[in-house]
Symmetry: C2
Subunit: 558 residues, 2 copies
Amino acid sequence: MTRQIVRGHPSTMGDDYQLNTTTLIRHAARTHGDQQIVYRLPDGGWERYGYADCYERVCRAADALRALGVSPGDRVGVLDWNGRRHFELYWAIPGLAAVMLQMNLRLAAEDIAWVVGHSGASLIAVDESLLPLAESIASRVSGVKGWIVLTDRPLDRIETTLRPVHHYEDLLAAATPVADWPVVDERSAYSACYTTGTTGRPKGVYYSHRAIYLHAMAEAAALGMTLDDCTMLITPMFHAQCWGLPQAATLTGGKLVLPGRYVAEDTGPLITAMMDEGVTIANGAPVIFQPMLDHIRAHGLRPDFSRTRLLAGSAEPPLTLMRGFHEATGADVIHGYGATETTPLIAVNRWKRSLKSDLDPEELWDLRRKQGLPLTGVDVVLRDQDGRDQPHDGVSVGEVCVRGPWITARYHDLPDSDDRFTADGYWRSGDAGTIDEHGYLKLTDRMKDVIKSGGEWISSIDLENAIVAHPAVAEAAVVGVPHPRWQERPVALVVTEPGRTLSEQEVRDHLAPRFASWQLPESVLFVEEIARTSVGKIDKRRLRAQYRDHYISGSGDA
Amino acid sequence: MTRQIVRGHPSTMGDDYQLNTTTLIRHAARTHGDQQIVYRLPDGGWERYGYADCYERVCRAADALRALGVSPGDRVGVLDWNGRRHFELYWAIPGLAAVMLQMNLRLAAEDIAWVVGHSGASLIAVDESLLPLAESIASRVSGVKGWIVLTDRPLDRIETTLRPVHHYEDLLAAATPVADWPVVDERSAYSACYTTGTTGRPKGVYYSHRAIYLHAMAEAAALGMTLDDCTMLITPMFHAQCWGLPQAATLTGGKLVLPGRYVAEDTGPLITAMMDEGVTIANGAPVIFQPMLDHIRAHGLRPDFSRTRLLAGSAEPPLTLMRGFHEATGADVIHGYGATETTPLIAVNRWKRSLKSDLDPEELWDLRRKQGLPLTGVDVVLRDQDGRDQPHDGVSVGEVCVRGPWITARYHDLPDSDDRFTADGYWRSGDAGTIDEHGYLKLTDRMKDVIKSGGEWISSIDLENAIVAHPAVAEAAVVGVPHPRWQERPVALVVTEPGRTLSEQEVRDHLAPRFASWQLPESVLFVEEIARTSVGKIDKRRLRAQYRDHYISGSGDA
């Protein structure tokens, strides 16, 4: 849907100046040329260079890509860890108005091959350590006309069946640095990333230069990033541009640390780098920050990270992690919320100064668990099932719908996805949530787990959390199942602690102070165990199927 | 000149989402609705409201303006101090795709009337205290069809000859808040400001919404502004959008302090507000910061401004001011560089972390006097007289030429201004300067005062500063005058300290260690006094005329 845009009086400004990423790296090279980029080698050693030297290699890489036939609009895949060559390709490929395809090396080979085919990539750059993965898809990606090996070792030492194969360092050595960068239209695609939903094929999101540029500025503003910061990229660089931190660090002229390949079982090098290089910003999932905290405790370290912000995404960071990191190091774990479709940041949790004096310490910790404040430039609305905006009262639940310059407005080459967008152009996140009077977004459920009862919504997660808080309860699950009168009604499944018993009414009495009466489950069923998925989450799809006829067959209290 | 823009692959992003200012104030109202805006009343008292309440009044003001016939593209003038109604009009007028004309109340009435006429403004909002000024131009602005009085007093208490006259508060009370804001094209003009050069009529600069938005983000990033900051607007709001700080504070959700009308002789209320409200950012000219420092010292105050950044523009802040403020309060005076044509920030002086350890304290203070690091998104080049880019070595001098999304690309309705722009689209600042190897810009002269000698440039200011450093010298001026062989050569005029004498050769010997021999003035003339302008600056135009024939007539050593 296109909104009608109203044109006013002409301006005299340089409005045709394009917001493209070449502007960012060129500025960093000119103005912060001696600022360091520190990178880890496969043998565990560290090296460093400045933005000026980095840019010189970017200009060489672009010349080499051109010589290999890369033209505006072409797609070039990258299969790599968080290293300097990956960082150089972040600028060289889009700088030619080509598209950097981010290849998620954790996907199944079949999915990777499908993504490459769907994108139409014609060239792929692959780290030496990932050659076996590249070789496993080579026969299935007939559109790929060449491969570039990323390595410090000479080409004649590399064994690979990929053909034709080029050597990145040899290409750079032979290249003439590009001086005539094209002025890339800001609405051109900078990169592509494919989402991996639970159903169907991956869906392609193509980020524009404009989106990348504006997202980086908004992220820098949200985190208060300046040229005094040192940013370590822990999130994989093949996912949603590493959450925009590479671009945000570059545009603020900050120091960068690229930790290469690492595994959650070996976070020692990350901690050492944080201390040695003075890291003040890092990003990652809670699942990587927890072993980092464990490492700090196990080794009795006392680092001073009091200036450090750890941007935690992908999942809500547990309170124990946030408190633990703060108590052990002074670092703030900051909750960020987003998705592949949103470049990715929608909201970042920051404390408002006014709340610091109004709330007590426990309330402040609770506040930090929320998804946070929407970034400036992003419109967030909560929509009920009839498409009505819900008030920001901290109670009214709606589907989180998002619109803005870095929010996807469609999927690439996927005609039947209109249901993922509202009629007025918002992307539907599939998350149900509330926004409180201070502007903080809080997710309450996935939409598919929300219970739609008589035109109102009930959060299954709120009910579960409340039931589990009862001392006699070990586990609980709540699902919505069909109901002849109310459309859906909740059914609660409860596993009691060993040796404890509980009645249906006791559960409802326990819930009553916190919920409206119509939100309480008529049926509380005591069971031996609750079905879970292979990764340990409650398997709500299975439970819904299992109890589908519960209220219809008359076994419940209708 | 339009650069060829290269289009790549289509993106899937919401690329038609417009960067307009309605987005900013609406976001602040939604997400930072309880953040305070504190404003000073004519009687000296202070009041406050939140962004949400402010936005409600903005929506009412827009409805009222619409009812008065304001349409997209129309120009609406504002003649006001730094108060909340001015702030509201910052959003209400451009939100309708109309243009806010910034009326500089310090101009001569004739110039103000000329600006109003040239802009074609049809409506003017004027503060009650400025009614006499408005009345003095009323007969000369026949295009103006109505006036709005900005005051808290009732209309029947206001005496004015302006007709037809409306009352802002009455209009708001009767209005219905606009809910259907137009989606304003980001390339539409947001506001207009006229430069007041020393020659010719004021020249019109029309800022786009896009320029305002991007400038504010870049400024916030350069100053590290967050929602934790409290910004006081000291720079007049009628000049270059108050340097973008109102928009930067709004987009970061920061607190704002609007000090109303103040005069340099009465800076006490500014200091009190800084302490009471916890101001961490303020802007102004050195000429206003100096009396503030004097006030702090005179009253023996010991405020803690250790988080505070004072953005000083318009002129280079003296070292004594920067040091004095830091020693007395902990505040950092930060040098910013720009012009009406550049929205206005081109560069801001920030310390690089690496330099803090490499330089000694005196060198760091020297560094702070430079114009600073170009903001990300602005291309700054130094051009010699043949249009060649000069290297960034801290020595090579060139005219500072600037290009970017918030740099003007032409003047409004002024056909013969091509000489103010380069062939490749840079605005020519008229300033001569250097850029050092760390990226810091340093102005050395106004271009018209640069001495062009044999294809090279000599800085008149550098020579003057060096001569004045001699203990026997009271004053000095250096100008370039025509020379039959070298195009121009410097002539130095020196006033000695009472009772001291000096020879030409002693002056040259004093300069020799710091300058190349060809840069030294052949003629050093000892004079009783040096011609100055009405504001006390050396009158180089007069001096150049006076010594025009110095080398041609053979009186000099050619």
